[in-house]
């Protein structure tokens, strides 16, 4: 289990670390946000990740060659209540001590509806799951903004183990929302 998780983590990290081209741009954290909304007995509760970093390769002329990697510090997840924040770092949830980072690595934007889709790998708690992230691209003053929300199944990542597996108490579906801003190419 331990070794498998580690392997998955390395595999997920490898392409980004090795292949990310030099023209990658860093995500401007001050203008970006990553959050997760879960449902507790029907009540939507949103938590925000305060610390994350990312790199994006994006040329509007060649969306198929776009690449992105985002690393999120799970211990920075906050619901606005210290007691809850401490709880979600525990082994039954994010297990922040063993798996400090959740990551997404994706490549190749393809048009979908009015927006885009990016296939990639989402790794949380050492478990890698293939996902297709829907997103919209917008130009803002001096920045390109990638925005979207991705429904995931928390149990696929072992988020909320033991007595917390009860989806009647805590729904399996969690909505991950992101807004990533990178400086617009100065052409």
């Amino acid at each position: 289990m331990n070794r498998r998780s580690l392997t998955a983590l390395l595999l997920a990290a490898a392409p980004a670390a090795v292949c990310m081209p030099a023209l990658a741009q860093a995500v401007d954290a001050a203008r970006s946000a990553v959050s997760a909304t879960f449902r507790q007995m029907g009540v939507p509760v949103e938590g925000r990740f305060a610390r994350f970093a990312g790199q994006v390769v994006y040329d509007p002329a060649r969306p198929a060659d776009a690449q992105a990697r985002v690393d999120v510090e799970v211990a920075s997840f906050s619901l606005g209540d210290p007691q809850y924040d401490a709880e979600v770092r525990k082994p039954a949830w994010f297990d922040a001590a063993r798996f400090p980072r959740a990551s997404f690595a994706g490549a190749g934007m393809r048009p979908a509806g009015g927006g885009w889709q990016v296939p990639g790998t989402l790794t949380i708690k050492g478990r890698a799951v293939n996902v297709v992230v829907p997103l919209a691209v917008r130009r803002e003053a001096g920045a390109t903004v990638f925005e979207g929300s991705l429904p995931i199944r928390r149990l696929a990542f072992g988020i909320g183990e033991g007595e917390w597996k009860d989806t009647g108490l805590l729904a399996d579906e969690v909505i991950v929302k992101f807004r990533l801003a990178v400086p617009a190419a100065a052409k």
């Binding site: 507790q40 029907g42 009540v43 939507p44 619901l79 606005g80 007691q83 108490l169």
Partner: protein, 208 residues
Amino acid sequence: MSAMGRISPAVAPPGGYGGTAKALHWLVAALVLAGIAMGLTMVSLPGITPTKLRLFNWHKWIGVTVFALALLRLAWRLAHPAPPLPPSVPLWQRRAAALSHAALYVLLFALPLSGYFYSLAAGFPVVYLGLVPLPEFIGPDPALKQPLVVLHHVFAWTMIALLALHVGAALKHRWVDRDGVFERMLPRRRRPPAAEDARERTREGMPR
């Protein structure tokens, strides 16, 4: 008392509350007691556990139900005044009863409302029975959280104190005064003609 003439015997037989008033009273009583029991239990549980989260949600649903029933009760009460107290009840007790009943009514609204706004300020909107999202009058607000929870606790302990007084006074009417005041809120088991029921109650209430 002049109030006597305004009461329709079919709804409130002389000396007693009507069936609707009684049903609302006991339903609200049961819910308030359950809400208080859950509230005291959940805040005493350490950490975050599934049981605690369930209790929190049930507690909120009970509060919402109490609020709705309190609205009904208030409307009903305004349309159907309470039966008059027997002449044997001294003036200070009449005043104390009126005052404490008014305070209980106020708390039936204030206690759920303060909890509702505390929940909103804490970032947990209330979804009734896990199905119906209720209005979010305010968003998450860390600055309001603390004052609202203090207010909720003050209201809760005031409610507990007033309930002790309420139950104590009711039992005094039953066991010490024996004036029939306690019996007017008891559910009727049978449905005898109103007059017979009232006579029976009077006999029971005043053994001398």
